[in-house]
């Protein structure tokens, strides 16, 4: 076995690889993220950033109370976020639980949203506490139902207890299940990994095992997509590209609730890994309420006055 010529899939090769990674100084990473947060994005660049951010949103509903009606409404909004303005781009994807995939896919196709993919959270989301057979089944079900993107969770317990091979093999297995049928996003749940050193290690484990995207969080744990965590993950994909010539995407999810936060994320991307990553193919933002704030800010730029939540749809 050979993974990008970097590891051979054995426990020792993984441990050696992770060991040679540079540490992350928390204070330094926080300071860099805070400095980038001072970037002032105005006028033309703000307009561009808002539309780009909209196109990157994985419009998400992940609740036990989700119903077919709720998911269908979400799909309608995903395709045409502002019913009064057709120049607003569709979002990056709709992100739902496994059993809602088919409902979402059918509805999207029905309303002309063939171009909007459905992402399914998978592998016993959000805890990941299930047998491998269940995780594989979960993934297969989602893909069969029409999911083009699988958002899997890693086994944080295994990671924290140093069983990196287990984490790696699970990801590699789900990668195999996805095959060419679906993109694989690997959720690190950075809030449970706690340290930036762990975030960096987990990012590499996921990338080596075949992730197309690395994603911060399930949205069920705080803190989620903090700026320094995203910074560390962006550094990882930047350096991994230099090693492997493979571009891995990054998806912050959770806690990005307004336009300012979203633009800060784009600035992080722009100044850490570069403008090539500023595309929905390589950067997504997992969110629900964010979209409405983006729409209201967009109206403000277009109209010159502040909008109201009355003019954006609640779902």
């Amino acid at each position: 076995m050979n993974f990008y010529g970097l590891v051979d899939g054995s426990e020792s090769s993984l441990k050696n690889f992770l060991k040679q990674l540079s540490g992350v100084d928390q204070v330094g990473a926080d300071a860099r993220a805070a400095m980038l947060a001072t970037r002032s994005i105005k006028t033309t660049s703000k307009r561009w950033a808002i539309d780009t951010a909209i196109s990157m949103v994985d419009l998400t509903t992940l609740e036990g109370a989700d119903t077919a009606g709720k998911v269908q409404a979400l799909c309608t909004k995903a395709v045409r976020p502002d019913p009064r303005d057709s120049t607003v781009p569709s979002v990056g994807a709709v992100c739902v639980y496994n059993d809602m995939v088919q409902i979402a896919r059918t509805h999207l196709d029905l309303i002309g949203g063939h171009h909007v993919p459905v992402a399914a959270v998978s592998t016993a989301f959000p805890s990941g506490r299930a047998s491998m057979a269940v995780k594989i089944q979960d993934t297969n079900d989602a893909i069969s139902a029409g999911a083009a993107e699988i958002d899997m969770v890693i086994d944080r317990g295994a990671f924290l207890s140093g069983r990196y091979l287990k984490v790696f093999e699970e990801i590699a297995k789900i990668r195999e299940v996805c095959g060419d049928r679906a993109h694989l996003k690997v959720i690190l749940e950075t809030g449970e990994l706690v340290t930036y050193d762990n975030v960096r290690k987990a990012s590499y484990l996921a990338m080596l095992a075949g992730a197309d995207f690395i994603k911060t969080s399930t949205g069920k744990i705080a803190p989620a997509a903090t700026a320094p965590v995203v910074l560390v993950m962006l550094e990882a994909v930047r350096d991994f590209y230099a090693m492997s010539a493979k571009r891995i995407g990054v998806k912050p999810a959770g806690g990005i609730r307004n336009t300012k936060d979203a633009i800060k994320q784009l600035v992080l991307v722009n100044e850490t890994v570069g403008p090539e990553w500023l595309t929905p193919q390589l950067f997504r933002i997992g969110a629900s309420v964010l979209l409405n704030d983006l729409l209201m800010q967009r109206m403000k730029i277009n109209n010159g006055y502040y909008s109201s939540s009355r003019y954006v749809t609640i779902d």
Binding site: V24, S45, W48
Partner: protein
């Protein structure tokens, strides 16, 4: 389309600049006789005319300071003195945006830095020292501490307001009165500070500001009515001052030049190290006495680190200092620009490899691209002389001992940086380095509670913290 940041200029309308300025003596603005222009180094626009302080002006300022010292300030309790400092700190915070804009216009530094660093830190210095004013007997310098009297203070152009705060706040807290001369090219925030003193109701003569050039500074240094000299600037001028006061009873503190080594070991946290190197030498256009201008890389990581560093430096945003997204602003003066150019040319001639990202620089004003020299050795002039600009000299070492020896191989000793994730190595290196400030896994951090100052030819004494107080209180050699 890529993500180009549209201009995000801070508003210039926040400040009104008088066409002609005078001195601030005995609580009043006094018209000068001769004047010289002060310009915005980013545009070469003349901002205002500054009075050239002469003997009459300095005499008047010293006289006012002496009178204020003997009749008011030395008689006031520390508790009351402290309250004036608290007031000053508050007003500086209230007018922070105004100070930041004025500083950036006059100095050329990015508004982000004047707004986020210079001005808040200046106010913090007044807050910190305000609290000392009634606690001096607990500072470990004896129970009956005594002020010197009149302090003559001469400050540089790189952090005009912040250096004023470093000087004025401890002087006032310890009970001295002040005659301060701002740098020739950057007087405007000092004059705005004079207005703050007025608003704070500070007794007349406690702070006097005489603007001018080196000749005005010399008048202060040599004035018989001055008890204490505090100077921040070049080592060259520091030595002139040391000689000038050799036969007098004046107490002296000097904050002088540096050529700080920033040592990177092979186990350093690499991304934060790259940030630290950038912050170390490109902060404030490299116009920093403690700038990490000598990068010492352990050989086994040198190539990787230089590659990462270049990628990062290429992202530095050079241009209009008033733009909130600017990282590197204008060089403060034409004179300084020529000096940076000259030393860089020497670096090339001596065989070091010069690299810059190739930024487009504004046509007017004084600009210098961030520049990295690799293949530098200890004997190159760019590894020994203070360039005081955005120029980094990169050297390598093989063993930790060699790294330290190279770092210490300089007459300077102001600051140094160490990067390693290994605790014992950090402590070892911090112990071995002969410098007054060691930044370990960080760089260019300042705080009023943290003493700052150099070993060897980088100066005499400390500023900030409990240690900084002794500079303004009588002690050894001050009888």
């Amino acid at each position: 389309m890529s993500f180009e940041y549209a201009p995000a200029p801070e508003s210039r309308a926040l400040v009104s600049i008088k066409p002609t300025n005078g001195h601030f003596i005995n609580g009043k603005f006094i018209a000068g006789t001769k004047h010289f222009p002060t310009i915005n180094p980013a545009t070469e626009e003349v901002l205002s005319k500054i009075a050239l302080g002469n003997k009459t002006d300095v005499d008047a300022a010293v006289k006012a300071a002496r009178k204020a010292y003997s009749s008011v300030w030395s008689k006031m309790s520390g508790k009351e003195r402290g309250k004036y400092l608290f007031r000053i700190a508050r007003i500086m915070q209230e007018r922070a945006r105004e100070f930041a804009v004025l500083e950036t216009l006059d100095n050329g530094k990015p508004i982000r830095e004047s707004r986020d660093i210079d001005v808040p830190l200046a106010a913090a210095h007044f807050f910190y020292h305000a609290g000392w004013a009634d606690k001096l007997e607990f500072a470990g310098l004896g129970t009956s501490t005594k002020a010197h009297g009149v302090a003559g203070q001469i400050i540089p152009w790189n952090f005009p307001l912040l250096m004023l705060a470093w000087k004025v706040a401890p002087a006032l807290a310890t009970g001295n009165t002040v005659v301060l001369k701002p740098a020739e090219t950057t007087s405007l925030t000092a004059l705005l500070f004079a207005q703050v003193c007025q608003q704070a109701g500070l007794p007349a003569g406690v702070v006097n500001i005489v603007t001018g050039n080196g000749s005005t500074g010399a008048l202060i240094v040599n004035h018989p009515g001055i008890d204490k000299i505090a100077f921040t600037g070049s080592t060259e001028v520091g030595k002139i001052i040391a000689r000038a006061v050799a036969s007098t009873n004046k107490s002296v503190t000097l904050e002088l030049g540096g050529k700080a080594a920033n040592i990177v070991f092979d186990d350093a946290p690499i991304d934060e190290t790259v940030e630290g190197i950038v912050n170390g030498v490109f902060f404030n256009q490299g116009h920093v006495c403690c700038a990490g201008s000598r990068l010492l890389l352990q050989e086994n990581i040198a190539d990787e680190l230089i590659a990462k560093l270049k990628v990062r430096v290429a992202k530095i945003r050079v241009g209009d200092p008033m733009d909130k997204n600017t990282d590197l602003g204008a060089i403060n003066s034409k004179e300084q620009l020529l000096k940076i150019r000259e030393l860089s040319a020497i670096g090339e001639r001596e065989g070091a490899e010069r690299w810059s990202p190739g930024c487009t620089l504004p046509r007017k004003g004084f600009w210098f691209e961030p520049t990295i020299f690799t293949g530098v050795s200890q004997s190159h002039r760019i590894a020994r002389e203070e360039i005081f600009g955005p120029v980094l000299s990169v050297l390598t070492f093989r063993t930790p001992q060699e790294g330290i020896e190279k770092a210490n191989n300089t007459p300077f000793g102001l600051s140094a940086g160490v990067w390693s994730e290994k605790g014992s190595r950090i402590l070892w290196a911090s112990q071995q380095l002969r410098a007054g400030v060691i930044w370990a896994n960080t760089f260019n951090k300042f705080d009023p509670a943290s003493p700052f100052g150099g070993y060897k030819e980088s100066g005499w004494g400390r500023e900030g913290g409990r240690h900084g107080l002794s500079a303004y209180l009588k002690g050894i050699g001050d009888e």
